[in-house]
């Protein structure tokens, strides 16, 4: 597991750098939430909203590969921006609990304005 997380972080960073320039992934983690959601999240610096929109398919493919390797079903993939800006600071893949399937991922709109939905497979 430790190796998979480290490998995932490195792969994501290398791939983004190859396509987008100086992107830094200082931290990647596997998480479990109190509600029942589990997931993989990578903190980033250097990535912008436009980058994510243009490379969405590529980013989704990498994140799906990493999350599958960690045993997380990639049901909901999203980017979180710094509020009010175009800086993307986290990419997250989440296997959803029943509440978040309805409340967090159930709307047609992004659940919050700082969230960009990249993929939804509910």
């Amino acid at each position: 597991m430790k190796e998979e997380i480290s490998r995932g972080r490195k792969k994501l960073e290398e791939d983004l750098r190859a396509n987008l320039g100086n992107i830094f992934v200082p931290e990647a983690k596997l998480f479990g939430m109190v509600c029942g959601c589990v997931g993989f999240a990578a903190d980033l610096r250097g990535l912008k909203r436009d980058d994510v929109e243009v490379f969405k398919d590529r980013i989704n493919a990498i994140l799906e590969e990493i999350s599958n390797s960690l045993g997380v079903k990639p049901e909901f993939i999203y980017a979180r921006k710094l509020p009010g800006s175009d800086e993307v600071v986290t990419l997250t893949v989440r296997e959803l609990c029943s509440r978040c399937r309805r409340e967090f991922a159930g709307s047609k709109a992004a659940p919050r304005p700082d969230i960009m939905i990249l993929k939804k497979r509910l």
Binding site: V34, C35, P83, G84, S85, R102, E103, F104, G106, S107, K108, A109, A110, P111, R112, P113, D114
Partner: protein, 333 residues
């Protein structure tokens, strides 16, 4: 009953709120509110979206097409004196002009100077709960400054004597927030909202904060150690709104503009229907995380409002809320 509901700020969310309002025929939902530009002023909540004026205009037009009023929250209780500089004055004057031209119906402010400044505009001046209006005398002062609506300090949500006196004291509309779960007489309230004001604006502290969540963490810890604080908070159950109507308060506000849009829609439905079966903590804007820890059976709270309406708030002598906590609150395993 008139209900004002939160809007996270992005246009697709407004469309979903409107769709739900219309699908369920929620005629009591008359207004929405969202944050304004952090370049002008911070607000009482984190700002997740910074709408430009064109977007505010577009969303306001959409809201109006669907018979909803649009209000903009600029309710920072502290702007560090910026509003009293010539530059600050010019910025607020320009922004209020722009909001007015965009068709905005009301502006929510906490700063008394801005209340007075807004007198020159046809937009409604809505005094925020962060102006801490907690007595009829204070309500009178704000009305004389120019308030059209006063959102009362949630600390007095269960002080019916003060609420009733306030309704009689002023002619402007009195509004109560129904789903705020803050600590009753919270010692951190002023400090926390002042901090939020600065963190949600461009007027940031010069150095990084080593404990940006200090107040929030303290607030959660206090309730984990003493869950009765959850019962003593100033929330209003959907079933108890009629008690407020009976003293002349017909205007209610839902808190929660930083929450997910489907959570907002659920709260809007529940409060419009005035009935709810389930964990009361599901409806509270803050502290939302405790809904995973505690279950407060809303049905078991039927009739408790009678005690709170006449309660002296001398908790050390009473013990009602402590006993009630044992009956209605369970720890989720």
């Amino acid at each position: 009953m008139r209900l004002m509901v939160p809007h996270p700020g992005h246009f697709p969310a407004l469309k979903e709120i409107v769709a739900a309002k219309e699908a369920y025929g929620l005629s009591e939902v008359e207004e929405v509110y969202m944050g304004g530009s952090p370049e002008v002023m911070g607000s009482g909540r984190g700002v997740l979206h910074a709408p430009l004026l064109d977007e505010i205009r577009e969303q306001t037009e959409y809201a109006h097409q669907h018979r909803l009023k649009m209000n903009i929250a600029l309710n920072s209780p502290c702007s560090g004196g910026h509003h009293l500089t010539f530059e600050g004055y010019k910025i607020f004057e320009w922004y209020f002009d722009a909001l007015n031209n965009a068709g905005v119906d009301g502006v929510i402010v906490a700063e008394p100077y801005l209340v007075e400044l807004l007198r020159d505009y046809p937009m409604k001046t809505i005094v925020s709960c962060l102006a801490y209006v907690d007595a009829p005398q204070r309500a009178r002062f704000f009305e004389e400054l120019g308030a059209d609506v006063i959102t009362v300090d949630t600390n007095i949500n269960r002080h019916f004597d003060l609420l009733e006196a306030m309704v009689k004291e002023v002619n402007c509309e009195i509004k109560v927030i129904v789903n705020e779960g803050c600590l009753y007489r919270c010692p951190f309230r002023y400090s926390h909202y002042n901090l939020a004001s600065h963190l949600s604006s461009l007027d940031q502290p010069k150095s990084p904060l080593f404990a940006p969540d200090f107040y929030f963490d303290k607030c959660i810890n206090i309730r984990l150690r003493d869950p009765a604080q959850l019962i003593k908070s100033a929330w209003i159950r959907p079933e108890d709104m009629s008690e407020y109507e009976s003293i002349g308060i017909n205007s209610f506000k839902l808190s929660g503009r930083t929450k997910a849009v489907n959570w907002i829609i659920n709260c809007m439905l529940v409060y419009s229907r005035r009935s709810y079966d389930g964990n009361l903590l599901e409806l509270l804007d803050c502290p939302q995380m405790l809904r995973y820890m505690f279950y407060i059976d809303n049905r078991q709270l039927d009739g408790c409002i009678a005690q709170w309406k006449s309660c002296s708030k001398h908790c050390h002598e009473c013990g009602y809320c402590d006993d009630l906590t044992g009956e209605v609150l369970t720890v989720i395993k």
